[in-house]
Symmetry: C2
Subunit: 191 residues, 2 copies
DNA sequence: GTCTATACGATGATAGAC
DNA sequence: GTCTATCATCGTATAGAC
């Protein structure tokens, strides 16, 4: 076992805390209270608050990158791959809010050299997303487009989900997915 | 004159500071340094740090709401109105980064009762955005859709702009606008 | 590993002289 | 209105007993 049970509990609570309050507003005192330890005891398991953020950031990145890899390895058409990738984002946003929040926002609070390292990973993810879009264009499945702009628009467009979905306004993940995919593929206009 | 020149300087610097560092990471000491005053002197002009946030939040909201009102009052078609509204968001993101950041994110740090009040204003804005989309559907200009989902997707989809655009990768606001509007109206698919 | 006690800096904010 | 001086509080983190 790589991490002790206590360390795992600390990491889990820290994830939730960072996601709910944001990294800056989350204190080690809050964390200790949740875990049921004194603050000082946390430091028997973890070197610093930022070390927690580091671990959580790179774990979140792995969730996205593994999903990406799985999709890349299928031999579906480019547009089908993009469809799956968007579905992946929706799935993460609704079932693993922490990963979504950290990968979208909280990584910014990393300090060097981890910040730099994380940026490289994130840029790699974006590049691979962009490549899929470009392949769709090349295959004649997508309209001509500025790939970077579309990529960032899609990538960002789902960031409301993790705040909105938990209140569940009587809609299933599946129909949410259907509706969002329809919009991103077909656009607003009636064709 | 409603606010003294010094108070205006304080508000302007606070806006920039909150936008650059985020409300939590911005300190009154930083602010004082920028304004060229001692920290304590700030308190001759403003009651507290959060009072600054309050003023800035409701000012940002006004930027969006006034834009919304102007567009609502034209007698353009629903789809043209939506087009203008999206263009408004792009314009604010590229020329008034503070308003965008505050209206998107930093308002969350308000405390009650201002938080509640702000939420109501924001919800009003979303509702009016949604109404325009619905009118487009009713007029047969837009495809059938879940208006709420489309609204939130569009609304959120532009949030990368204010971080990305300043680095200007050799693209004008106008062609940025053209590309984004094409994507949101026509979708990914080649028709 | 967990505890009590504590160090030490940064924070938002105030008192009172000028 | 601005200053110097100061406060109380909270932040992360450490020392050392058990």
């Amino acid at each position: 076992m790589a991490v002790s049970p206590t360390k795992k509990r600390i990491l889990d609570e820290a994830s939730k805390l960072f996601q709910e309050n944001g990294y800056l507003a989350a204190s080690m005192r809050d964390l200790a209270k949740r875990v049921g330890l004194q603050v000082s005891s946390l430091y028997s398991h973890v070197g610093s608050k930022e070390e927690l953020l580091q671990k959580i950031c790179f774990d979140s990145a792995r969730v996205y990158l593994e999903g990406m890899k799985t999709i890349e390895e299928t031999d579906a058409s480019p547009s089908e791959k993009v469809r799956q990738l968007i579905a992946l984002h929706i799935q993460i946003a609704t079932t693993d809010v922490t990963s979504m929040t950290i990968f979208s926002d909280e990584w910014r609070h990393l300090s060097e050299p981890y910040l730099q390292e994380f940026r490289i990973i994130r840029r790699d993810y974006e590049r691979r997303f962009g490549r899929m879009l470009q392949q769709g264009v090349d295959a004649g499945e997508f309209a001509e487009m500025n790939v970077t702009i579309c990529l960032l628009t899609i990538f960002t467009s789902l960031r409301w989900l993790h705040r909105w979905y938990p209140e569940k306004r009587g809609i299933s993940v599946k129909s949410l997915e259907t509706e969002i995919l329809r919009f991103l593929f077909e656009g607003l206009k009636k064709h």
